[in-house]
Symmetry: C3
Amino acid sequence: MDTETRLELLEARNELHDLISRYAHGFDHQDAETLRSIWRQDAVLDLDFFGRFEGIDAIMAAADQYWTAAPFMHHWMANPLFSIDLEAGTATAATELDCLCTYVEDGTSHIGGRYRDSFLREDGRWLIAERNFDIAFVTPMPDWKPSQGVEAQPLGAPAKN
Amino acid sequence: MDTETRLELLEARNELHDLISRYAHGFDHQDAETLRSIWRQDAVLDLDFFGRFEGIDAIMAAADQYWTAAPFMHHWMANPLFSIDLEAGTATAATELDCLCTYVEDGTSHIGGRYRDSFLREDGRWLIAERNFDIAFVTPMPDWKPSQGVEAQPLGAPAKN
Amino acid sequence: MDTETRLELLEARNELHDLISRYAHGFDHQDAETLRSIWRQDAVLDLDFFGRFEGIDAIMAAADQYWTAAPFMHHWMANPLFSIDLEAGTATAATELDCLCTYVEDGTSHIGGRYRDSFLREDGRWLIAERNFDIAFVTPMPDWKPSQGVEAQPLGAPAKN
């Protein structure tokens, strides 16, 4: 491969990784601008039994509903694997999820599984075309509470809540 | 450093990172082909008190036993640090593990620790020569159940199991 | 962008990522040399209600106190996002934390949140100028015990503690 192709591959991998990170930051911080920026207009988000959404507007409407139902979410992504076809302008990724979601009505669930992404390059920019989540587990954590508004503590002391 | 060397270093790091991710995907999805592809023929996998295995065939036989004993595993890798010697064709990594293993007989354990890898480049391709795991903790989680086959739920609702 | 700039951006991202990983390895393994190596002399570490420390010596003194108060820590970092200005020699990152800290007096807390880093390049080397942690939760885990010194087990068996 020539230098240009090698650089493009390295850069593409970082861009794809960023899309995956921005999905997590967007959801976890209710950051609609970041979450909206990662999709193609007609993107599909298929979250297994959590729902299937077609198009950015449907995805963002779903996010709004999630944020109301589960105001605390943490999507820790791990083990990303990428496959990139520069000439075709297509790529895929498989990335593991370790997640906590705290629902207003039902408390906290520990959720795990694997995302499978398809990406397309549009005007030189990579975007998610389709994101599929395969659930591995959804485990209720009745004793797990997210503490918020904890008070200042002396050095090294854990929070009490 | 010249451009060629700099590109090779950047590419090597990504390849090494992929080996670590493929170990996790291979184990967690019982994907023998992926798991087999990451090792040198005479590779050593030393998992601390979980066992020590020499050679790909012994590693794969151990994986088969793990998959029978603990059908649900999640290896979330974090904080990878690499050291690469291109000229020698050698490299090392230190990577943290956050893991859940659900055993048929004893339920779920939360496992943490650090992998230390040695890699060798063979015919232009990086492979794991030795992987050592230093256990930090193995904590029983008697109340943690992996839910499988959960039914479809309305948007945003957590699974009940 | 020319090849030199593109290479520098790719390398800078890896260096910044390494600083974040070394913070975690340094803290979790009580590795003072690694932890000390990542900061500018006048760096600020602001850990929200856990404390605010100015200068490497204050940061290292705080680490010593943490290591006494909480001998077992695990900082699993995820979802790093970087913004790099090569010409200015500045960069920022936002990275999620999933953490367990076991305190001598109060047991284990599960801690989550987001680090925001500012970096400066000094003599061609990136260092952390300021690290701010925004706590999302600090959740007591009264039943979670780090098992240490577990005995050898047959293949695939979980540790009993």
